[in-house]
């Protein structure tokens, strides 16, 4: 291929020059895609031959991801045709793409942190991939990508690089015909990258086609046979890698058309007003930079190379070392946090309070200056905010409009207005024009330039090199957390910036990507594992028994033990259901009143004088009611978007009402035969308790070994990742609420045996008791983490404790203290243990 064939808008089918039509594995012809009227892709074609590595190059926003989303069926193109293995794939869906042998490794791994490595593999891959021993198959998958972790390790303990390797392992495991790798080496160290390259080469040798998206020319040189370059959603050209020079490739990547106008630069002859020296933090190291009055400093680099972290560090949001001086005054961490104005790249989650008004958002950082006599002066606030927003030309219906109703550009201006109103010593903006329309961009540039001219040092991180060229007087280029180039004045050009970023061979310094020193030991894994709370509870139970037994011979009597176990069984069934809800990240407050209501229902049917048909009808009705309640709970949560608390609280109140509707006072004696059956015991051991234990064990096994359990915990652990690996989230969650209600039905059977009468006022207290038992068992209220064995132990311990107070003659006061302190201590211990494991403070 010659240079003439790669010229600007040339769109001749490239396939003819690079290979035989017959061996084209994946072919995209003339694909276009628009988002809200803006073209993300325009008439782009891509041809991938069998057994080649095809690199796709381009800057951020060039359309690479859109193209790959089309190739994997995640997006449907507006125009264009996709052929897989020579056949036209009319409408490609993710499932169809997988069936056709297309696999993708996303930039952000779709893994669920609370599941183990093994479980993550098994929930995401078809069962066929594990034929002949799941463990061995999983070991092979890990060995293939050189991932040295234990299959039983929880993914949350893995480093970013290890998670990435896991994601790669999943893709290679299905032996795809087309493998798409989206910047796979970004978080990997040199060794892992080399290993990945070897893997890619051996896969290619076996006939797999690899599409390799990257920013790094060195990787293209090392790995790829052919290369396609995109820019601004258009095809810039393609070539055989061996036939094209780095300079020629660079020319294809850069040269975006200028969309916005930039304000004049300062010239930079003022005094030095910003100095950063030896500044290090998570994700970046040893950064030094200076700026003169009136200069805007740009931070450049391929996305994810420490630019955002550097800005966060300068904003005082991360633990850092090194010095930052503004205008000669040294600012420590606390001062930076309090004074520096930081505009995050992610406006939605970190920049704006979406439910609050434009005024409230803009005024936030400057509230103290609107104070008069202790209270906010509405008049002053409105006039200052209005003045600021006016000077930034913010277009909004009114000051009181919710900020979420504004366009991206105007939202960003509100964030800028907040920063400027506070009169900050330092202005930090991360991707200030992302998602902002062209017109507003120019205005934002002007605003930032004006702030800089007033003497406020302005630092801007942007992945758009053209923008930095137009706006900045000084640019530092980062790669893998380090500054690899500093450009000043005339040197600040898109080409120099991109060149420095893509040709860097720096190795990652990020702490997150560092390999863990050792594999975790067996003991350590147990202590950090799900079963340590259960073990702790068993120890507590034994200790309690050992303390009470001497001097209380009745304590270990068959009668006392069976009473405790029967009570524990009743609450335990309900707690098992509660555990299901908590595992999905929800909560089911309705279980207590539901159990109470079901007992009331039974008091009309399960009577001594009822015939078998009537009794059966009663049980059928109870099951039906329970199932309907579960369905309503689940549907309110998933489809009506109630929070689990609101949804199940509604049912909680309603079920209490229904119970009183059926019976205003106690009444309806439950059949004695049934009561005896429920309370049947052999020595100290009630049959019902045995059933409870068996059920808990079976559910535990299903939770660990079956797809049902992985799905349940996966949804609770990371709903988005769960969806991406193909879990039906709605079905999983609604199913959990239905099962929870059915378990409340089992609890109701026990209460029928214990109370023997329909009592409308019973029930509601069981909700909180069930939550207590589940939490004692170590289930996290954040979802994704917990055991049924722990729930079993929690229920028994709770009843043992209540029983113990009578033996110790402590009275009801101590019951409350015990229950309260037990749950608080358990929660504190578990929370601290978990937060330490995750290596970050418990509260955000």
């Amino acid at each position: 291929m010659t240079r003439t064939a790669m010229g600007g808008e040339t769109l001749d089918p490239p396939a003819g020059s690079v290979g035989d039509e017959a061996v084209l594995r994946l072919e995209i012809q003339g694909a276009s895609k628009h988002f809200a009227g803006v073209a993300a892709l325009k008439d782009v074609s891509l041809s991938v031959r069998a057994g080649e590595v095809h690199a796709v190059l381009g800057e951020n926003g060039a359309g690479k991801s859109t193209l790959m989303n089309i190739a994997t069926g995640t997006l449907q193109p507006d125009e264009g045709e996709i052929r897989v293995g020579g056949e036209v794939a009319a409408t490609l869906t993710p499932a169809r793409a997988t069936a056709l042998g297309i696999a993708i490794v996303h930039q952000h791994p779709a893994v669920m942190p609370d599941l183990t490595v093994q479980e993550n593999l098994q929930v995401a891959l078809p069962a066929a991939a594990f034929a002949g021993g799941a463990r061995q198959a999983a070991e092979r998958m890990l060995a293939r990508v050189g991932l040295e972790v234990d299959l039983a390790d929880r993914v949350e303990t893995l480093t970013l690089a290890e998670r990435h390797l896991l994601e790669i392992a999943k893709a290679f495991a299905v032996d795809p015909r087309v493998l798409i790798l989206d910047e796979p080496t970004a978080p990997l160290g040199n060794d892992a990258s080399e290993l990945l390259f070897d893997l890619v080469r051996s896969a290619v040798a076996e006939g797999t086609s690899v599409v390799y998206i990257t920013h790094r020319l060195a990787e293209v040189r090392e790995l790829a046979d052919t290369v396609t370059v995109l820019r601004d959603g258009r095809l810039r050209g393609n070539a055989v890698v061996a036939d094209i020079s780095d300079q020629e490739l660079l020319n294809l990547i850069v040269g975006r058309e200028l969309e916005s106008t930039f304000p004049a630069k300062s010239g930079g002859d003022g005094e030095e007003n910003l100095s950063v020296e030896g500044f290090s933090g998570p994700g970046f190291g040893d950064v030094s930079l200076v700026a003169r009055r009136g200069e805007i400093v740009g931070v450049a680099g391929v996305v994810g190379n420490g630019q955002s972290q550097l800005l966060r560090g300068l904003a005082g949001l991360e633990e850092t070392s090194g010095t930052v001086s503004v205008g000669g005054r040294r600012l420590d961490h606390r001062e930076l946090l309090g004074e520096a104005a930081y505009m995050p790249a992610d406006r939605i989650t970190e920049g704006l309070m979406r439910s609050l008004s434009v005024r409230e958002n803009a005024a936030l950082s400057a509230l103290s200056s609107f104070r008069s006599a202790g209270f906010l002066s509405r008049r002053r606030e409105v006039s200052e905010v209005r003045g600021s927003l006016g000077s930034l030309s913010v277009r909004a219906p009114s000051l009181e409009a919710p900020v979420s109703a504004l366009s991206g550009g105007n939202q960003q201006k509100v964030v800028i207005s907040r920063a400027l109103l506070a009169d900050p010593p330092l202005l930090l903006a991360d991707e200030p024009t992302q998602g902002v329309d062209v017109g507003a961009r120019s205005e934002i540039y002007t605003i930032l330039r004006a702030a800089s001219e007033r003497g406020v040092p302005v630092i801007i991180a942007s992945s758009d090199a053209k923008e930095l060229e137009g706006l900045c007087d000084r640019v530092v280029v980062m790669s893998r957390g380090r500054v690899v180039e500093t450009l000043v004045g005339e040197e600040v050009t898109e080409e120099r910036i991109v060149s420095a970023a893509v040709t860097s061979t720096a190795e990652t310094v990020s702490a997150a990507a560092a390999r863990r020193a050792t594999r975790s030991s067996r003991l350590r894994r147990f202590v950090e594992g799900d079963y340590s709370p259960s073990a702790l509870l068993v120890v507590l139970m034994l200790a309690l028994a050992a303390y009470i037994t001497p001097g209380n011979e009745r304590y270990l009597s068959a009668f006392n033990i069976s009473n405790v176990l029967l009570a524990a069984t009743a609450i335990g069934f309900i707690a098992l259901g509660q555990n299901l809800a908590l595992l999905t990240g929800g909560i089911d407050l309705s279980v207590g009143p539901l159990a109470g209501f079901l007992v009331v229902v039974s008091s009309f049917y399960v009577l001594d004088r009822s015939g078998p048909a009537k009794v059966l009808l009663g049980f059928v009705l109870m099951v039906l009611v329970a199932a309907v309640v579960g369905l309503v709970n689940g549907s309110l949560v998933r489809f009506a978007r109630f929070t689990p608390i609101a949804a199940t609280l509604t049912l909680y109140i309603a079920l209490g009402g229904f119970a009183f509707l059926l019976r205003s006072t106690q009444g309806g004696y439950i059949s004695l035969g049934f009561q005896n059956a429920v309370n049947l015991r052999f020595g100290p051991l009630p049959v019902a308790f045995v059933v409870f234990v068996v059920l808990a064990v079976v559910m535990e096994l299903a939770l660990r070994r079956r797809r049902w359990g992985w799905r349940l915990r996966g949804v609770g652990s990371d709903e988005d990742a769960a969806r991406r690996v193909g879990i039906d989230v709605d079905r999983t969650v609604i199913g959990a609420y239905v099962c929870s209600s059915l378990l409340a039905f089992l609890g109701a059977l026990m209460f029928m045996g214990q109370y023997g009468i329909g009592d409308p006022s019973q029930g509601s207290a069981f909700t909180l008791t069930s939550v207590t038992a589940v939490v004692l068992g170590g289930t996290s209220l954040l979802g994704g983490r917990g055991t049924f064995i722990g729930t079993l132990a929690g229920a028994v311990l709770l009843q043992q404790l209540l029983n113990a107070t009578t033996f110790l003659g402590l009275g009801s006061t101590s019951q409350y203290y015990f229950q309260g302190l037990l749950i608080l201590v358990a929660a504190v211990v578990y929370t601290l243990a978990r937060s330490r494991r995750r290596g970050r403070p418990a509260a955000g």
């Binding site: 904003a315 970190e350 979406r354 439910s355 608390i645 009402g657 229950q819 418990a842």
Partner: protein, 343 residues
């Protein structure tokens, strides 16, 4: 501020602070309820009826305002019953009928409230415990203290407390004035002070608040102290309204306190609080109970109506009824967006 200000740029309309959706909804519902009450049975809006309903509504309003503060921070407070019960037990047991000791009793109740709030606040705001667990545990501990003081036995309230909490001024129950004063105070502090505005911003988006340099932990911790102080006031009033309150009298306020917050339009996910609608919702719920009682329905009807009101109230905020009624499918781009639900 900005030197680039150009004089000809359009000024943003100040915009009046619109009556919130919650205020309109619950306000309308309450008016309809009272009209309905008058039509169905005049007795349900008689002076006797109102003077029986309003004190309880006032207590619920005050407890609801405390719950609102917690909900604004994305939390939920299950220690409401323990807190109210403890306060009323301290107020009835410490003076033991001696009005001169009432001051001391109030002081003790306040100290206990601050301690309980600090416990919740430290556990949740500082240590990051889940609010449900922490307040559940705190509730049990509060009842432990309660039973230690009371032994579970009720005691007759002091005459002075009865006069203050249960009496009337100008024909209006005194508790109503307490509720109005609390409403004014909460509104003023949350909406008109620097700390209050920061508090709301933190509730609306903790991460953004942190990025803006606000002291997130301090605010979240203090939230639970303020809430406990309000529950304490509610408990003191119960001690005045009821001549011989039981040691568990606070239990009946837990669910309604959450319900009034939700009905008032405050999102359970946190953010902006709506004090006035919360107070109106308390009146609404209590009048509903009153109407049902006067009409002679089974007591079961009122929880059912409350549940229905809650469901309708939440779905008003979470479901996009307009697009459903218009039978227009949601745009595909929005369908994949994370749920921005309220309730």
């Amino acid at each position: 501020m900005a030197t680039t200000l150009e004089q000809d740029r359009p000024q943003l309309a100040a915009g009046r602070t619109w009556a919130s959706k919650g205020l309109v909804t619950i306000g309308t519902a309450t008016v309809i309820l009272f009209v309905l009450s008058a039509l169905l049975d005049r007795a349900s809006v008689s002076g006797t009826s109102l003077s029986g309903m309003l004190p309880i509504a006032a207590v619920l309003a005050i407890a609801g305002l405390g719950q609102m503060l917690v909900v604004q921070q994305g939390g939920i407070d299950l220690s409401v019953p323990g807190a109210i019960s403890l306060a009323l037990v301290v107020i009835t047991h410490v003076p033991d009928g001696d009005s001169s000791k009432l001051g001391v009793a109030v002081l003790i109740a306040l100290v206990l409230a601050v301690a309980a709030g600090a416990l919740n606040g430290l556990l949740i705001g500082t240590m990051g415990l889940n609010p449900i667990i922490a307040t559940l545990g705190a509730n049990a501990v509060l009842y432990g203290v309660n039973l230690q003081i009371s032994g579970g036995r009720p005691r007759i309230t002091t005459r002075l407390m009865g006069d203050i909490g249960g009496g009337s001024t100008l024909g209006v129950p005194n508790s109503v004035f307490f509720a109005i004063a609390t409403l004014g105070l909460v509104t003023l502090v949350v909406k008109r002070t620097v700390a209050g505005r920061r508090f709301e911003a933190i509730g609306a988006n903790q991460r953004a608040a942190r990025a803006a340099g606000l002291r997130v932990r301090t605010h979240r911790t203090a939230t639970y102290v303020w809430a406990q102080l309000l529950y304490c006031l509610a408990g003191i009033l119960v001690a005045g309204i009821t001549s011989q309150p039981t040691a568990f009298a606070g239990d009946t306020f837990l669910l309604p306190s959450i319900a009034v917050v939700v009905l008032g339009g405050t999102s359970l996910l946190g953010g902006r609080g709506f004090p006035l609608p919360t107070v109106i919702a308390a009146v609404f719920l209590q009048q509903l109970v009153q109407l049902v009682t006067v009409l002679g329905f089974s007591a079961a009807i009122s929880p059912l109506v409350q549940a229905a009101a809650l469901a309708v109230g939440v779905s008003l905020y979470t479901i996009d009824w307009r697009s459903i009624l218009a039978r227009r499918p949601r745009p595909p781009a929005a369908a994949g967006a994370p749920a921005a639900g309220t309730g």
